[in-house]
Structure formats: C-alpha cells, structure tokens
C-alpha cells in the first residue's frame, strides 16, 4: 500500500476528528486531506523531492503526505548540521522543494528555500478546482522517506524507506482508529529521525491528535503534557533522564499520560526505575528498531515493566534492561560469526526479516537473497523470547582473543552509586591487542574513585573484563537522540600522547 491511501483512510475514518494543530484552529481529517491535496499540486511535476530542514512543526505531516501524494520522496534533514554539510546533503537531491523554518532559511539564502509557514499560507490561497486536483501516486515500491544516518565516522548515508515498508509497519503494529477522540500524543523526537517519522505516522494511523514540541526541554515537555492533556508520548533516553531529573522525586500520580515509550538508544536501568516511580500510573514501553527497519521491531510492554519492577526473580527483574519481544510480523535470528544460529541466552549478531525491513541505502541493498538484514547489532534472546541488545558489533573490544561487549561493562559501572554515564572503549595494546578503558561521568554530590569502580567490575564480571583504566569526566559526547558517540571518545583517548596511558 501507498501513503496516499493512508491519506484517504484518514479522510474516511477521522473526517470530523481534530488531528493536527496545537492551538485553534485544529485540523480535522478532512482539513488535513484537503491541505495534502493542495500541497501535492505544488509539488507534482515540479520537484523531484521535498526537503524539510527545521524544528518540529504542528503541520509537518502535511509536507510528508503532500510529497507522498505527488509521488516524490520526503527528505527531512538535521537543521543542526553545519552549513557546509547541510548544503552537501541538499545537493544530493537536486531540484527539490526546500522547506525550512525561519532561522534555517537565513542560513540557506542562496538555495532560495521556502519557509514552511509561508508555503502553508500560499496553499490556503489556492483554489483546488482552479489548479486541478492531481491523482494520488500509487506505486508502493517508490521511496517515501529518505533519512540520513548520523555519519559519525564517515559521510552520512541515505537510508531509503519505501511506501511498502512504512505501510507494512503500520498495518502490522497499529490498529487503525484505535485511539479515542480524547487522546493526544506529544511528539518531541526530531523529524529527521526514524522515531520522529514513525511517531507521526503511527499516531495519525490510530487517530490520535498530534501535539508537537518544537524543541525539547524537560520543563516544556512537562507543561505541554499538562496543558494539552497529553495521553501518549515517545522520548529518547536523554529526554527521559532530563524529565526524571526535572521532577526531582516529584510523583506524577494524576498525570494524563497513559503511555510513555522510549527508545532510540540504550537507556540506563536506573533512569527507568526512577521514571516508573515518577509516573506510577503510566504504562511504559521500550521500543527497539533501526532506521533500516522502518522503526520498531521489538517492544517491552507496560506489564513487563511493572512485573520486572516488583519481581524478586532476578531473571524477571533483568527484563527491564531488555527491549522485550519482537513484533509478530518480524522474524529474528541470532547468529555467530560463522552465521550459525546460537542457543537461547548466547550472544551473536542480530538478523531480521520482515515486510517493513528495508535494509537499503541509496545505491545499495543490504538484504541477503533470503531477505535477511544483518543489523550489526550484537544481542541475545533468552528462553522466554526477551531480546537483549549489547551494542554495535563494530564496537566490540577484542582483548587477548576474547570478544567483549562494552555494554556489559558499562551496565556494571552504571549500577554503581554516583555513576551518571559510562563509556567503555578498546584502545590498542601491544600485549593484549586491545585494552579496556572506561570514561565515567559522576552524578552531583558524588566523588568517584576509579579503584573502587575497578573492584566493582571485577566482582561482577572477571578480571579480563575489568577496565585497565577508568577516567572521570564532566560529560560524554552524544548524538541529539542520545546515542553515545563512542568513536569520538575513542579517538579523543587515542589522541592523548600516542594513545598510551597517561
């Protein structure tokens, strides 16, 4: 199916339901469909794609669906990139309609971008009958959305999501119209991230009103939840940590929030426990997915969270650090380095297959002949089907021939009192091939002693997994969605005097 059919479904199912726009006037399904059709007339046969560079906007779905209706890809780009990089990404998509917000427009003057608000105003002056409505595009093998990978080590790659991938995800995981008309979702994930796109699509599909936070701060997020009586929200781990910090022990027992989902990066178990206490009547959902899988492929649901929190059984408690079970329409395999399946509980490389799995970049499809996609994420599945993510295989430390996942050591460090963040990397070592170095960030009011931390790791893991060196720092670098920039930490450490121990 094509996203243009999605527009028609919205028009049919939610014709008089307010779906978009925080303030009045709110747009109903009928209004939305009309704007999309208008937008499509301005794109069709004129542009090869629609680029959006800016903060979140309450009517952002209009840009995505107008592009879809007109049969061209929607290409959201990170407005925080530096000018040079921004231009080079735009140049990859020549002849595009470039929509921006006010502050980005000033930076891109020579490319004559259109400010999104102005474009919307222009649309409202068009008479659809005058310009002639266009037929909806219907080839679901066309590219619907292009997302750039963060490109921390190389040039960003364009991940391609076709209409069939996105619709497979929606049809497989969301019941159309399942939200009642009092529900509202707060979207705070940026539009150039797969979670921002999935957030928009799956909530519209369920008929839930979209409330946008233009840019995130914990205080604004909390007041928007209260103001707009928000029932659902999705955040990345850094946001969750900030919200918990902002609440500072306050319990939101009467929050309107029914569901709070989080994902996009590894989250510390301590933050989750604090969040569960801060929102005792909210259902928590941990979602795991990749850009290349058109978002979520595994979820840890609300019952799992509460059960893990209250259980005495360590096997059940442990599930709080899992990403739950894979969605019914997804197949998963954990394979070793010889591509053989491993037993339950053993770690290996995560392979995925399913209709939503794109596994494709511009010019290269990474699916094998049987349709399997190697995520390059390392993980394991326990006997009950819970999936544990151990990090990128490319981050694996090989010390004395032993493969060591940094996440395993980081988890132990994060469980120690006073450790706010931890990053474990391997550095070249003459004797061991690689040696383990950890950088930790201490929480306010704590003074961390590297020796104590080393002892703690040695107690839980083994001597061979104990960092040879632990450094205490004020902060660690992250992407905006909370993924730790391990490579940056590693290269900073390497840049120290020849990479040797100071």
């Amino acid at each position: 199916m094509h996203l243009s059919s999605f527009v028609e479904m919205v028009e049919s199912g939610f014709d008089d339901r307010a779906l978009l726009g925080d303030q009045n006037p709110r747009l109903t399904g009928t209004d939305f469909g009309f704007l999309v059709r208008l937008g499509a007339t301005q794109v069709h046969n004129k542009y090869a794609s629609v680029i959006y560079i800016g903060e979140n906007h309450p009517l952002l779905p209009v840009a995505l669906f107008a592009a879809a209706w007109a049969g061209v890809p929607f290409v959201p780009i990170n407005y925080r990139l530096e000018d040079r990089q921004l231009r080079s990404l735009i140049e990859r998509y020549p002849n595009s309609l470039v929509l921006t917000d006010l502050s980005t427009a000033a930076r891109l003057e020579s490319l004559s971008p259109l400010i999104f608000d102005e474009w919307l105003r222009e649309l409202s002056n068009i008479d659809l009958e005058d310009v002639g409505p266009i037929e909806p595009a219907e080839n679901d093998d066309d590219v619907a959305v292009v997302l750039f990978t963060s490109g921390t080590t190389s040039e960003p790659k364009s991940a391609l999501l076709r209409h069939r991938h996105l619709m497979a995800y929606l049809l497989g995981s969301v019941e159309f119209g399942s939200a009642d008309d009092s529900e509202a979702v707060l979207v705070s994930v940026p539009p150039y991230h797969v979670a921002g796109i999935a957030n928009m699509l799956s909530n519209l599909f369920s008929g839930r009103r979209l409330v946008y936070l233009t840019s995130f701060s914990a205080q604004e997020w909390l007041s928007k939840v209260a103001e707009e009586k928000v029932t659902h929200a999705m955040v990345v781990p850094t946001m969750l940590a900030r919200i918990v910090e902002e609440l500072d022990g306050e319990v939101m027992a009467t929050s309107t929030l029914r569901t709070l989902s989080y994902g996009g990066a590894k989250v510390s178990e301590r933050v989750i426990r604090q969040a569960l206490q801060a929102f005792p009547n909210t259902g928590f959902v941990n979602a795991y997915g990749l850009t290349e899988t058109a978002s979520t492929i595994a979820v840890l649901g609300p019952e799992d969270h509460r059960e893990a929190l209250s259980s005495d059984d360590p096997m059940i408690q442990r599930r709080l650090s899992s990403v739950g079970q894979v969605l019914p329409m997804i197949e998963i395999e954990i394979r070793n380095e010889h591509e053989q399946l491993v037993a339950a509980g053993e770690s290996g490389l995560i392979y995925l297959r399913g209709e939503q799995v794109s596994g494709e970049y511009a010019g290269v499809n990474l699916l094998d002949s049987d349709g399997w996609f190697c995520t390059r994420d390392q993980g394991s599945i326990d006997e009950d089907g819970y999936l544990y993510i151990e990090g990128r295989v490319d981050d694996t430390i090989i010390r004395g021939g032993e493969n060591i996942a940094p996440a395993e050591i980081e988890e132990v460090l994060l469980a120690q009192p006073g450790v706010a963040e931890a990053c474990v990397v391997g550095l070249p070592d003459d004797e061991w091939g690689q040696r383990i170095v950890a950088v930790v960030v201490q929480q306010g009011g704590h003074i961390l002693e590297p020796n104590d931390l080393q002892d703690a790791v040695r107690k839980v893991l083994r001597g061979s997994k104990t960092p040879e060196e632990i450094m205490v720092r004020d902060s660690l670098p992250h992407t905006e969605t909370g993924k730790m920039l391990r490579r940056v930490v590693q290269s900073e450490l390497l840049a120290r005097k020849g990479g040797t121990t100071t």
Binding site: H2, M9, S12, G13, E138, S202, N203, S261, G263, V285
Partner: protein, 102 residues
C-alpha cells in the same frame, strides 16, 4: 471489478467504508450489506435496505478476510452492513493488540 491495494469501497446502503489492503488480480464482486459497493458516499441511496443475512456490521479499524486469505479489507468507517466478496461473507481477522510503541 478488479481491486488494487489502496482501492476504496463505500457502502451503497450504510455508513461503512473500507480500504483494500490485499486483493487477488481477478474479477471480484464486493458487496456491503448485500449491495454492490460504490465509489462515492454522495451516490448512496438512503432508501435502499440491507439484504437479509448481510447485516452483521463492519467495525472501525478491523480487518476482514476471506476463507482462502486472498483478500483483506480494512474498515475505515463503521457500518451496519457486512462485507462479502463473490457472495462469501468475509470474516473478522483477529489481531493481537500491541502496546503503543511510538
């Protein structure tokens, strides 16, 4: 008619509307409430009645499939008529409810 994914089906006799998710590439006769579907709600005849045996109703957001699982229709607007293809009433497809993950 030959249905394509994305094709809309509108009842001539009740409020039901459906979207084609999956369909075989063969000639099909689709009815809602026992009467052939139409392409626009404006063409609905308010005086027309639902045929006996076709009054099971269609529910918002639910999927309807045939026995052989060759066709799948998704209800985007509920109605009192039931959907049938080539005379066979479609069955409600049971789906496991998943937590809202995003």
């Amino acid at each position: 008619m030959i249905l394509k994914p994305g094709a809309r089906l509108i009842s001539a006799v009740c409020t039901a509307e459906l979207m084609t998710v999956k369909a075989p590439k063969t000639e099909l006769e689709v009815t809602i409430g026992g009467v052939a579907t139409i392409s626009s709600a404006a063409a609905r005849d308010a005086s027309a009645a639902i045929v006996a045996g076709h009054d099971g109703g269609t529910l918002m957001g639910k999927r309807y499939v045939d026995e052989a699982d060759t066709i799948e229709l998704l209800c985007t607007k509920a109605g009192t008529g039931a959907v049938a293809v080539n005379g066979e009433l479609l069955q409600l497809k049971e789906a496991k409810a998943l937590p809202a993950s995003d």
